[in-house]
């Protein structure tokens, strides 16, 4: 729900702001404008409003916008967007709002028969086919109000177990300036802007929200594509709290061209109870893990194996692979194993030459004092080691040994909870970002999905309790699920395989 801050001229027609209202105020026309604040408002309205105004709660917003193309041309696509958003507002020690979004997108095709003619329903109206073209799980976001600046900030726990506060900002590419966003624009609770007198009771005792305020509410919940509101029925629970909101939005469009239909409904729960969860540094006391995470400090000799098990949720396809990293201060060798074989099998006693993956070497150049990366690939002159380039002729280099392998010594032991005698699992607040620290920095999984997308991270410490034995991780990318296991061994006892032909 990131909003833009727009600077407008003094007499501009617009005030384009968050919760700027929806699309219309029929009450203004009909004369059912909101009652003056001096008018007596029903106790029902007051109780209802008090259940959500400046009070913690959860709102689940379901909205749908469908644009039908009515030209009769099957090539003209309509679109349907369904969104379910969960907003949670907090008024505890700190004002906060969290938002979790699920969105589904469909292309809307005019239904046609084999001749290409539109298929009509019993009323003579066009019919449509809906084809899901994309769906996504939204990323949950939580915004806190920084009381000192009034801006919206996010709280995250870094892998070093410190609280990271980040300002939400708007970027102006004409000036190159990032401007912090005002919390009160980014994360409005629309009910804070509604009066009891905006809730009027009909003959059946049902409350209806003033239409201007209803449009404002729709906009606060991200419903900018929703048609103008013609009615907003407020449903109450047994305690008189607002339980749900039924928004009525008449279709709009042009005959023969298009029709836009929208729906909007909100369910409320957790009145005065639900609160946005803040994060704080963890207090897990894991001395053994602390030692294990530091097991490679100052160490330049070890073996780090990576096993991957990848499944495609769509096709069920499975891929497996294994790579062993032989780390030595002057040379690191990544040896790709033939599928289904083990390190000591004869087939693996030579540099990998299957072509679907490569063996790599990172070697120290004494003259220049830096490391260069090489890959073993087929070229015109047969299999040979060639320099790995970043782009064009820029070689892939490293200034220091510590830039090559895993860097889990940067991870604080307190961000893991002990789940077994020797196992530790990453806490929720750091899980998404922790995976990359266990990956090789060169020739690793190297997936962006590991940064922010780690879904599992379990560490097993060795029997002696002084080093990591293995790390089991998982992440998703597209339809693929990656399960990755890193195994650490032979610290200060690793030799580079004799079959390695690098430098010959």
């Amino acid at each position: 729900m990131k909003k833009s801050v727009l600077v407008l001229s003094a007499l501009a027609l617009f005030s384009l702001v968050g919760c700027g209202g929806g699309e219309g105020t029929s009450s203004i026309i009909s004369g059912s404008d909101s009652a003056s604040s001096s008018e007596t408002t029903s106790s029902k309205a007051q109780v209802a409003l008090a259940s959500l105004r400046k009070r913690g709660h959860t709102a689940v917003v379901r909205m749908e916008t469908t644009v039908y193309r009515l030209s009769g041309d099957p090539s003209e696509l309509g679109v349907r967007i369904q969104r379910v958003s969960t907003f949670k507002h907090s008024y505890d020690a700190v004002r906060a709002m969290s938002e979790e979004l699920d969105a589904y997108y469909y292309d809307v095709y005019l239904a046609t028969d084999s001749s290409g003619d539109p298929i009509l329903d019993e009323n003579g109206d066009y019919t449509f086919n809906f084809v899901a073209s994309h769906s996504s799980d939204g990323t949950p976001a939580t915004y806190f109000r920084d009381e000192e600046t009034g801006t919206a900030v996010t709280h995250e726990i870094d892998v070093d177990n410190t609280l990271d506060v980040t300002y939400m900002s708007d970027y102006d590419d004409s000036t190159g300036i990032y401007s912090p966003l005002n919390f009160d624009v980014v994360a409005r609770n629309p009910w804070d802007y509604i009066r009891a007198s905006d809730l009027t009771e009909d003959a059946e005792g049902v409350l209806h929200l003033d239409l201007e305020k209803a449009n404002f509410l729709v906009d606060c919940y991200g419903g900018s594509s929703i048609n103008w509101v013609s009615d907003a029925k407020v449903n109450l629970d047994d305690e008189g709290h607002i339980e749900s909101l039924d928004i009525v939005t008449p279709d709009i469009g042009e005959p023969g061209r298009y029709r836009r239909a929208t729906t909007f409904h909100v369910d409320y729960s957790g009145h005065g109870i639900d609160q946005v969860q803040d994060v704080a540094p963890y207090e897990n006391d894991n001395p053994e893990l602390e030692t294990a995470l530091a097991c490679l400090d100052g160490v330049t000799n070890f073996k780090y194996r990576r096993d991957m098990y990848v499944t495609d949720s769509l096709t069920g396809a499975i891929q497996t692979s294994a790579t062993i990293g032989y780390y030595n201060e002057d040379l690191v060798y990544y040896h790709h194993l033939y599928e289904g074989t083990e390190e000591n099998d004869e087939v693996n006693q030579e540099v990998y030459e299957a072509g679907d993956d490569y063996d790599y070497v990172v070697a120290y150049n004494e003259e220049e004092g830096i490391y260069y990366a090489y890959s073993y690939e087929w070229s015109t002159f047969g299999w040979s080691w060639g320099i790995v380039s970043l782009s064009g002729t820029q070689p892939y280099t490293f200034n220091d040994f510590s830039e090559i392998g895993p860097r889990f010594n940067m991870v604080d032991a307190a961000v893991f909870r002990k789940t077994g005698e020797k196992t530790y699992e990453a806490e929720e607040a750091v899980l998404a970002n922790v995976g990359t620290y266990f990956d090789n920095q060169f020739a690793g999984v190297h997936s962006e999905a590991l940064i922010g997308g780690t879904t599992k991270c379990i560490i097993t410490v060795n029997e002696a309790g002084d080093a990591i034995e293995k790390v089991e991780m998982a992440f998703n990318s597209s339809t693929w699920t990656y399960n990755v296991t890193f195994t650490l061994s032979d610290i200060n006892n690793t030799t580079i395989p004799s079959y390695l032909n690098f430098g010959e």
Partner: protein, 411 residues
């Protein structure tokens, strides 16, 4: 982060007091009721951006100002929220929520215009939101008159479209209990200028604003047909009939056009200063059979008139004799000005179709009709075209005596 406490009050509110300061209390509900009834607000604001010293040449200040009246329009059976802007336009919500305003056209008819921005309808509830309707009694401390910071920020956002964090805000109330202003101090905003990847310098944005309120002369009315009577002007318009000469000049035009309206023939010279045909000159001849005018365009290179499509008279020249003169008032002897309600729409009707492309998005600003010896001497109109002031003067002569110039002949 430091803050800039900028407390500004309009001159009209300097006599106001914080009731609560002395232990008094005000009726907050009455204050909100007052705002619900309608008010006039003037807001001036200033936004100063200060760059790091090495870039101090980029420092700048941007000023904002609005002056508008929030109130109600009533047709006797229902009422609608409305806003009168500094130019006198009254905006209200149309049937589908789009912001509309009314204006009298050249025929003294009320026309309703839907406001749009780059082709999208402007929503009244967004563009002209009345912010006090979103403020409740618990947002104001009746003792200290402190306004909730979030709602104070909302005030500025609604009036100016600018979102700024507020440090503190207090209502200023006069001895009659009316809010005459809001004193607001804003927090400085520390923006980040990325001077190199991942390296930011502070750019400090300071904001100050003055809000003042008044409650007199706030009645709003729907635009109604004018009932002015200007018999002399009416005679002058109708006397033009279908015989007169009109020279059109304008501050943004490179040459003046001359229209020779001679009964069934109309000759348009693209250069009124020439006493000869010029390339592109147009000739219109009335065709009784079709009731339209056949058109011809002069080609200098071939010295011929080329036939074009036929046109209705209104597509050639305004039919002045059909326009209403009730939308004028006599400003001084022989000089008539458009009434305010007509300045948006009516002036465009006075401009010949030849200029349509130029005046596509023109906003009328006014018109003056000048009489000389009872005859229409000139019609001066003004417009805003994409923010540029365009003034057009149509000078009339040879009324009832106009013939085509002798050099105009199709052979």
């Amino acid at each position: 982060m430091s803050s800039s406490a900028v407390l500004l009050a309009a001159a009209s509110i300097t006599s106001g007091v914080y009731f609560g300061v002395h232990g008094d209390s005000v009726d907050v509900k009455a204050i909100l009721d007052q705002f619900d009834s309608g008010y006039h607000v003037s807001v001036t604001a200033s936004e100063t951006t200060t760059y790091p010293e090495s870039l101090s040449g980029l420092n700048n200040t941007r000023n904002y100002a609005i002056s508008q009246t929030y109130g109600w329009l009533s047709d006797g059976t229902s009422r609608a929220k409305a806003v009168k802007d500094a130019d006198g336009f009254i905006h209200y919500a149309g049937e589908d929520g789009a912001s509309v305003y009314d204006s009298l056209n050249a025929y003294n008819e009320v026309e309703t215009f839907v406001e749009d921005y780059y082709g999208m309808d402007v929503l009244y509830s967004e563009a002209y939101r009345e912010p006090w309707a979103y403020i409740d009694t618990d947002d104001i401390n009746g003792e200290t008159l402190e306004l909730d910071r979030t709602k104070a920020s909302f005030l500025i956002e609604s009036y100016l479209g600018i979102s700024r964090a507020v440090e503190e805000a207090h209502l200023v109330v006069d001895n009659n209990g009316l809010v005459t202003g809001v004193e607001i101090s804003f927090l400085d905003r520390y923006d980040g200028l990325e001077v190199e990847t991942g390296v930011f310098d502070d750019v400090i944005s300071s904001f100050s604003a003055s809000i003042s309120y008044s409650y007199s002369d706030i009645a709003l009315d729907y635009v109604k047909e004018s009932t002015n009577s200007n018999p002399e002007l009416e005679t002058a318009f109708t006397s033009l009939g279908n015989n007169y000469t009109m020279v059109v000049s304008g501050n943004q035009f490179t040459s003046n056009l001359a229209y020779y309206v001679a009964g069934n023939s109309i000759y348009v010279s693209l250069d009124a200063s020439l006493n000869a045909l010029s390339d592109g000159d147009m000739l219109y001849e009335y065709n009784e059979a079709s009731g339209r005018y056949n058109s011809y365009t002069y080609s200098l290179s071939s010295d011929t008139w080329m036939r074009g499509s036929s046109s209705a008279l209104s597509d050639i020249i305004p039919e002045f004799s059909t326009f209403s003169t009730a939308i004028y008032y006599e400003e001084s002897a022989g000089i008539y000005a458009l009434v305010d309600d007509a300045i948006y729409s009516a002036p465009l009707a006075y401009i010949p179709a030849y200029y349509d492309a130029i005046f596509d998005d023109a906003i009328g600003q006014g018109a003056y009709a000048t009489l000389a010896n009872g005859a229409l001497s000139s019609l001066a109109t003004s417009f805003s075209v994409s923010g540029i002031a365009v003034n057009v003067t149509e000078s009339f002569s040879s009324i009832g005596e106009t013939t085509l110039p002798s050099y105009v002949s199709r052979g």
